[in-house]
Amino acid sequence: MFVEALLTGITLGGMYALVAMGLTLQYGVARIMNLSYGEILVAAAFAVFWLFTAAGLSPLLGLVLIVPAALLVSWLIYRILLLPLVQRAKTRDALEVDSILATFGLLFVVQGIMLVLFGGAYYSYSFLAIPVNVFGVTIAANRLLALAFAAVIGLALYLGLTRTRAGTALRAVAVDPVAAQLVAIDVRAAAAIAFALGGALVASGGVLVSMFLTFNANIGVVFTMKALIIVIMGGVGNMLGALVAGLILGLTETFVATWIDPGLTLAATYTIFLIILLVRPQGLFGRSGR
């Protein structure tokens, strides 16, 4: 029973981490508090649903199409919509407020488009819902896949950010955008890349969770909230922090549901969030980039 709860918790946590990683890049490095984050995730889910049901394309192939598309769209959003805000913002706080307002508007635009195209009804499809036996516990293959993706993306980005020159530049922007310019880092380009990468990540999250979650055009905010909690818990801009915080949330929810009461999962989540905010306000792994 313990192994079962542990593995279920890890898969759930992996999904949470996957959903949160894009936001930590967008918020931590590009400094855009993206409130339309969940909507982009749901848009990717709709895109893959459409590819799967109308064109018969496997969601895994869909991933190959949707992720680059999301990268491009996010980059365009940054260049066209957000760059003017970045240019006129005097301080980080001012940018945060402006980006919240702008992306709040974007939320309704994306949601509106989805409502027009798909209506408000629930959507769901079945893909890779096959039982896989792991240490005697049965888990759905699609959930394992999401966990694997979260782990791979989390580690790859962590290594990329810490071990490569480009990654170091991104972290420098996260730590101090003004000083980063002094060492010849193109801050605007770096921030645009970080925002676009975040968009690609959230799209991959959307594709993967659409394999096992039921969604509709209005569900985006649920993901934004969850991602926000994980990002703040893990430390803003910290990939490894997002992974660990996601796993902590997933494990907590599963343990509480298994041994205490499923009705208390939300309470437990927010208790942990509160404790971390009180004890380590900068997040588990500190503010940015590491």
């Binding site: 029973m1 079962e4 709860a5 279920t8 759930l12 949601q111 409502l115 209506g119 408000g120 009804a121 629930y122 959507y123 769901s124 499809y125 079945s126 819902a129 096959i130 039982p131 049965t138 888990i139 759905a140 096992f212 979650l213 039921t214 969604f215 509709n216 055009a217 209005n218 569900i219 649920v222 929810e253 599963t254 549901a257 298994t258 009461d261 499923p262 009705g263 999962t265 939300l266």
Partner: protein, 406 residues
């Protein structure tokens, strides 16, 4: 700051101008049109349900009316005009929108919002202005008491107790026949629907001698059901009941399949009767039970389904949809019999008249369709969500045990 203020002022001005033009156009047309208004959840958490059970019915009914030339009033057909607002799944917003429909748009008739919560919220407004409120997405045990307080309110889905009585009856019969053991595992979503039905089920099942080996609730929005399903699996219950909402309904069935959890009786909540369900589960839907259900031999509902599919390219849901259409047919006939927009007379006619509907002839009892009008409990059988209870001529036998997952 001043710039932002200017933008805000401009936005307000635009919104205001839009409102004025809407009102003006309505007044110009008031003589030769019947205005029907509704506030419904086009966005927010209720939108999923509203978009399946309610909005398609409104659109279908209005289109059919206007294709005929409109409502027959005083010997001539008067076209119908619709005014629609989004209540954003918010009860204050719904109340405001309904008041606005009545006082500013001066609609002749109102259609109800979606869900138990919002219908209860707007009930006082409908009552205060004397508009008939024909709800068909609200289940509440307060319905009989509400009818006394608000005689203008009609509750086509009835009370939670009526569903539970039918379900417990069905299960008791199976237990007596030795088909299932006396143990039941039950889970419910911690929201109006789940709380109401699980409470009624707790009482009903215990009274009938069943043992509740598991009785847990989970927060709304939960889509990871594995811990609950493994507990139900361990409980040794032959009967698994979940009073769930659509996303959790899909997750419960999906994860039960992965865990090879196949109880002899599997009952899940809202969403089981949605067109999404057979699409998603195909042959695996077979044997799964829920609220609602259709009589496959009823020509009226078969015809209704055809028209629904022709207009919306998807099936209606198998619980509230047909009753929604029935309620609209009754409203139409009541108005035409009264022959003018006299809302008190229309309410009176709805309470006492007999109406010709897709479900056959219906006469309401205490503002609710009497037992036997439609199925309370249904089961997927041969690709159709078929009514199996309460016992009656138009009900099929329940298939037990549920076939194994494929």
């Amino acid at each position: 700051m001043t710039r932002r203020f200017r933008i805000l002022a401009a936005a307000l001005a635009v919104g205001f101008a839009g409102t004025l033009s809407l009102v003006a156009s309505n007044q110009a047309l008031a003589q030769d049109k019947i205005k029907i208004g509704y506030a419904i959840s086009k966005t927010g958490p209720n939108a999923g349900g509203a978009n399946i059970t309610q909005i398609p019915n409104y659109q279908l009914w209005v289109k059919e009316l206007n294709d005929k030339g409109g409502l027959m009033i005083g010997g001539k057909r008067v076209p119908v005009e619709v005014i629609e607002y989004d209540d954003r799944s918010n009860s204050e917003e719904a109340v405001r929108a309904v008041e606005r429909l009545i006082t500013q748009d001066k609609v002749d008739l109102l259609l109800p919002p979606w869900g138990t919560g919002l219908n209860l919220a707007v009930g006082p407004v409908f009552n205060k202005y004397g508009y008939p409120q024909l709800t068909f997405s609200a289940v509440t045990d307060q319905a009989p008491a509400l009818v006394k307080r608000w005689p203008n309110s009609f509750w086509f889905l009835g009370t939670s107790v009526q569903y539970i009585d039918a379900l417990v009856d069905l299960l008791s019969k199976q237990q007596k026949a030795g088909k299932i053991n006396g143990t039941v595992a039950m889970i419910s979503v911690a929201d109006g629907f789940g709380i109401d039905l699980s409470k009624a089920a707790r009482d009903g099942l215990t009274k009938a001698g069943f043992k509740l080996a598991m009785d847990k609730s989970y927060p709304i929005g939960t889509q990871d059901m594995s811990p609950l399903i493994s507990e139900a699996q361990r409980s040794g219950a032959d009967t698994f009941i979940a009073f769930s909402y659509p996303p959790d309904t899909v997750a419960i069935n999906d994860q039960s399949k992965v865990a090879s959890f196949a109880p002899k009786v599997m009952f899940t909540g809202v969403g089981t009767g949605f067109p999404l369900f057979p699409q998603r589960f195909g042959a695996n839907a077979e044997g799964i039970m829920s609220l609602g259900g259709w009589d496959p031999n009823n020509a009226g509902t078969v015809e209704y389904r055809k028209r629904h599919v022709a207009m919306h390219s998807r099936d209606p849901d198998y619980w509230g949809s047909q009753l929604g259409y029935v309620s609209l047919q009754m409203l139409e006939q009541a108005v035409e019999r009264v022959g003018k927009i006299d809302r008190a007379a229309i309410i009176k006619e709805l309470q006492t008249g007999t109406f010709d509907t897709v479900l056959g002839k219906i006469k309401l009892v205490d503002n609710m369709p009497p037992k036997g009008t439609y199925a309370y409990i249904g089961q997927w059988q041969n690709g159709m969500f078929t009514g199996v209870a309460p016992a009656g001529a138009n009900m099929k036998d329940m298939v037990i045990p549920k076939p194994a997952w494929k």
